[in-house]
Amino acid sequence: MSGLEDLYREIILDHYKNPRNQGELPTPPAIVEQGHNPLCGDEVFVYIEMDGDTLVDIKIGGQGCSISRSSASMMSTAVKGKNSEEIHDLIHRFKAMMSVEEERPGHEGEADLKEFGELAALQGVVKFPVRIKCATLAWNTLNQAIDKASQQG
């Protein structure tokens, strides 16, 4: 089973079985965006509620595999209370860790795991390229939701 423990870390399975911030928020005032993984048919709904520029509440809906659900769950706990710039920064760094985006010039080492807390557990996904899309699904959807909020705001 070499490699499998790298993918399915304890913390990932915990977030899969006990997902945080699962559910819906009334829209409006909340904003919802939907994301699809065309590969496996998974879908995620990201509900966010902004107070000015700060994300005050987030809920995750939809269905998916352990990687996509745990990534969404961890993301929801990581972004609550952050402003849009901090969230964009985190999204970028997460995607850099997933090797789908380059580290920005002058920000070398931004994909460094130490900064990520629980999210670092998803590092093992990089070794399973097909699953990277699962891990980044909720993040791309959150990105869309934040953009939508800033347009409306």
Binding site: M1, G3, L4, L7, Y8, L13, L39, C40, G41, D42, E43, Q63, G64, C65, S66, I67, R69, F128, R131, C134
Partner: protein, 424 residues
Amino acid sequence: MDGLSTTELGQMDRVGDRTVAEIRKDFPIYRRAEDSPFVFLDSGASSQKPSAVLDAMDAYYSTTHANVHRGVYAIAERATELYENARVTLGRFIGAPKPSREIVFTKNATEAINLAAYSLARNRLTSKSVVVLTEMEHHANLVPWMILKEQIGFEIRYIPFDQDGFLELSQLDRLLEGSSIVAATMASNVFGTLTPIKELAKAAHANGAIFLADGAQYVPHYKVDVKELGIDLLAMTGHKMLGPTGIGALWGREELLKEMPPFMGGGDMIEDVRLDGFTPNEVPYKFEAGTPPIAEAIGLAEAVRYLEAIGMDQIRLHEESLLDYALKSIDENFGGSVTVYGPTDATKKGGVISLTMQGVHPHDLSQILDQSGVCVRAGHHCAKPVMKRLGVGATARASFYIYNDKSDVDALVEALAKAQAFFA
């Protein structure tokens, strides 16, 4: 294992006269994988290739390669002969009355369906037309029609299916009324269930409609006689029936192909080109624009000979015995924690098992199965409307072919148990 007779068990490890162990020796991929477990249960997505197919293609490239239908020198004539013989071999395999004129080589079944759809649309579809499909089509037999619908504005109706994956025919007359084209899969790629093609073709004809069958999942596993089925067009693909990728075919009744306008334009498909227009070539050449996949056609013909030597009826019996054993074994070992979609009677479906495991997403399931060397497909199987109907985002699908035996089913069941334990 109780309740299975020895003959049934025997068939799991034999296909007709040959043992699966012998057959595997013909497939180089089983050689490469000798030191690690290799349980290939994804032939529904694409089959493995025997040496005979690879050797035929290699020999062609090494000794005979030249473009077809052009040169007058020896190897060019030989290449043309091999390519045209491949057409006849495939045509005879499906009972085509005029094999040399009724087989159009394409890239795959998807291209065959697109060819049929675009060509038929030009003469037969207006904004008032009706095209009838089924709710369990692969995206390949949905999206081409949807694209044309956007352009032309005709109506698409769908024949529904029941909970077991069988077409629901009670409203067939009403659905087919006024239709110009009816297109249906011969076997569901999700359930493995077979569709009543003869009945559908007859009903289509009674309404004056053309009937197109998608044989991608059927032709590799069953004996086909297009005349007996009474269909007008048949889409096929080579890579699911031991042939290479990049080759498929559309069979069509000669008279129908003659009246259908060309799909793609280019070299080889014309008889004459002037600056003010062109005259298309004879069938089937008028549908084969550009240099065709020559080596792939030769490889596919070799695959057909390989299948014929084993016997399509024997292949079906072998798959049925594996399916029967697998369905029973999964039920005995997992009961309600594994849901198998489609009928549990092996005689009513092809060698395909779509399943979900409680608490384990199909994506995770196939990842863990892979650790035991078990290759299954996880996803929506290019049939998202079917998934929606089943109320699942995805399933894991195991599919059987001539190189599978009882040990593969046992490995699958063992790996499923591991996955269940892992996520418990």
